[in-house]
Symmetry: C2
């Protein structure tokens, strides 16, 4: 079997996760990591894998099958995905939901111009959660779908806390409200406000002498980020934060309840849930499986931008259709 040659662009948490995930897949090899930094300063988990400056990436056309884009959605991916989709099959985790249609159109045009497959918005939300929302709604159309996130670290909310005057460090957890989960699972189709669905818990390291009451008030009243939620603030030491809150766990669930029968007398609950020790490593594992799908779809002469909705699941597995039917159906 020919191995799938993978390149990684960007070596933050996600790029590092992709490097580790590739090791778990025997049909793949990592050709190199590409970075905007000085390559000599980038330390991979496997030092035998070459690190290149991003400027060398275009010259690698033909040497890489699938490029996994590990940059951010705000400024990196809107430029990088269309640019590299002309040269390689690509996978990205573009997650700015409102901009997906525009991103799709630009990437689709680029990928088609280069006869490539470009998977966009791969991950768990958008990604596996979207898939479960869509499938559950198609199967039980007289129903309602709910998405809960957490318990997990929100990078954006943690950053917002750290920007407050007098805050040295901080971490924010998004947590689904247990009563809301129970009400949804019961099939009652509750109408839930933002506050009723999730709560927020913050662990904050304040500077010596900083006014903790003022910091707590600023957090709780921060528009968009916290003001619509019940928020708890704990002040702790840097040592405690490093010891107990250095991970990047996350999770969540998509719950769909629907009715069937002559008069909707039967209720069904479909629930997809994840509980992750490492959010970036899980997302990376999804990106790698969809890199395989991109490669295999290209072998069948498919081209253009694809989302998780467009990928027949069999493409994700290294097994043949025959093996899948015999062992997993």
């Amino acid at each position: 079997m020919k191995t799938i040659r993978i390149g990684i662009l960007g070596y933050g948490n996600l790029g590092r996760g992709v490097e580790l995930a590739i090791r778990q897949n025997e049909d793949m090899e990592l050709v190199g990591v590409f970075t905007r930094r000085d390559p000599s300063t980038v330390q991979l988990a496997d030092p035998s894998v070459p690190v290149y400056h991003v400027q060398e990436l275009e010259s690698m056309a033909g040497k890489i099958d699938v490029l996994i884009l590990c940059g951010g959605s705000a400024t990196d991916l809107p430029v990088q995905t269309p640019k590299y989709a002309k040269l390689f099959h690509v996978v990205d985790s573009f997650d700015t939901h409102a901009s997906i249609p525009e991103h799709f159109a630009r990437v689709d045009a680029a990928a088609k111009s280069g006869n490539k497959v470009a998977m966009i918005s791969i991950g768990w939300d958008p990604g596996l959660f979207s898939l479960n929302r869509m499938m559950a709604g198609a199967i039980l159309p007289q129903g309602q779908t709910y998405t809960f996130w957490g318990k997990g670290v929100s990078q954006g909310h943690s950053d917002a806390i750290r920007r407050i005057d007098g805050v040295l460090d901080g971490k924010q957890y998004t947590i689904p409200v247990e009563q809301a989960l129970e009400a949804v699972r019961s099939g009652k189709n509750p109408e839930l406000t933002t506050r009723e669905k999730h709560r927020r818990e913050c662990f904050v390291v304040a500077a010596d002498g900083a006014d903790q009451a003022r910091i707590e008030k600023e957090i709780k009243e921060m528009p968009k980020y916290f003001s619509d939620y019940d928020t708890t603030v704990h002040f702790i030491t840097q040592q405690e934060l490093d010891k107990n809150h250095s991970g990047i766990p996350h999770g969540g669930q998509v719950i769909h309840t629907g009715k069937t029968g002559v008069q909707g007398e039967h209720t069904h609950v479909i629930e997809f849930s994840i509980k992750l020790d490492s959010n970036p490593e899980f997302t990376s594992s999804i990106l790698v499986a969809y890199a395989r799908a991109a490669y295999r779809m290209a072998q069948e002469n498919l081209v253009g931008a694809k989302t998780i909705f467009d990928v027949a699941p069999a493409y994700l597995s290294p097994k043949s259709g025959e093996e899948l039917r015999a062992s997993l159906l």
Copy 2:
């Protein structure tokens, strides 16, 4: 939009569920129900839908887009699916796991000879559970997948009870063992025996004067069905059985736990679970969504046998790719 014209072959619990599910989908119309019985004896939920004898089915080629096969896996589907896949796009719920490869081959040849799409083994297991087993394993290959069934009624086990001398009626529930679920969710990858995974609970109506101790012993010692499980037997009246155990609920979960990181230091749990008031109505709803997929794949000139692994999820939804990306991704 052109509606998708559906036919139903077989009007038991599944066929009836398909009739009800079609009503929930505006892009579909039910052309007719086909039966081996005298059509005048078959009472549909909607009396305006025609009931035909199965002999008339072949003459309906061109008037039905997708035929949903609602017969049993033991004797009906091995004959019916290849036969009708030459004339119509078809969907079946063939669930004899060990015979799927053979069934696939026969249906594939038939469907290709008629330029049709044939979806086989659609439902929740095989079906949605297979999909979740496969995808979770592809995403987290260093992991283990567990399937639990229940709490729900097993028709086969209920039938086995009813065949015992002195038993007038009976119902059997398959129930996952809570400690096993907890051990799996913890990520410990336990090795579980059959007895450790599921238990069985029976509600039995005994004939007047029948030896209940003997019946209970016969149930508990029945090879394959009960002897490998911890089984509880309750003797109740026919009235109680009819009142409290007349439904066909079911459910279950697929749980995959996998490791990532430099040395597998991070554990992730992916869980897909369902809780169904009516097993046949839920299965029927899945069949109907995959009937749409069969029709739409055929519009794109795909042919042959397909399993749930081969169907790009977008085909399940009446929404366009554009709408899906804008609203559900």
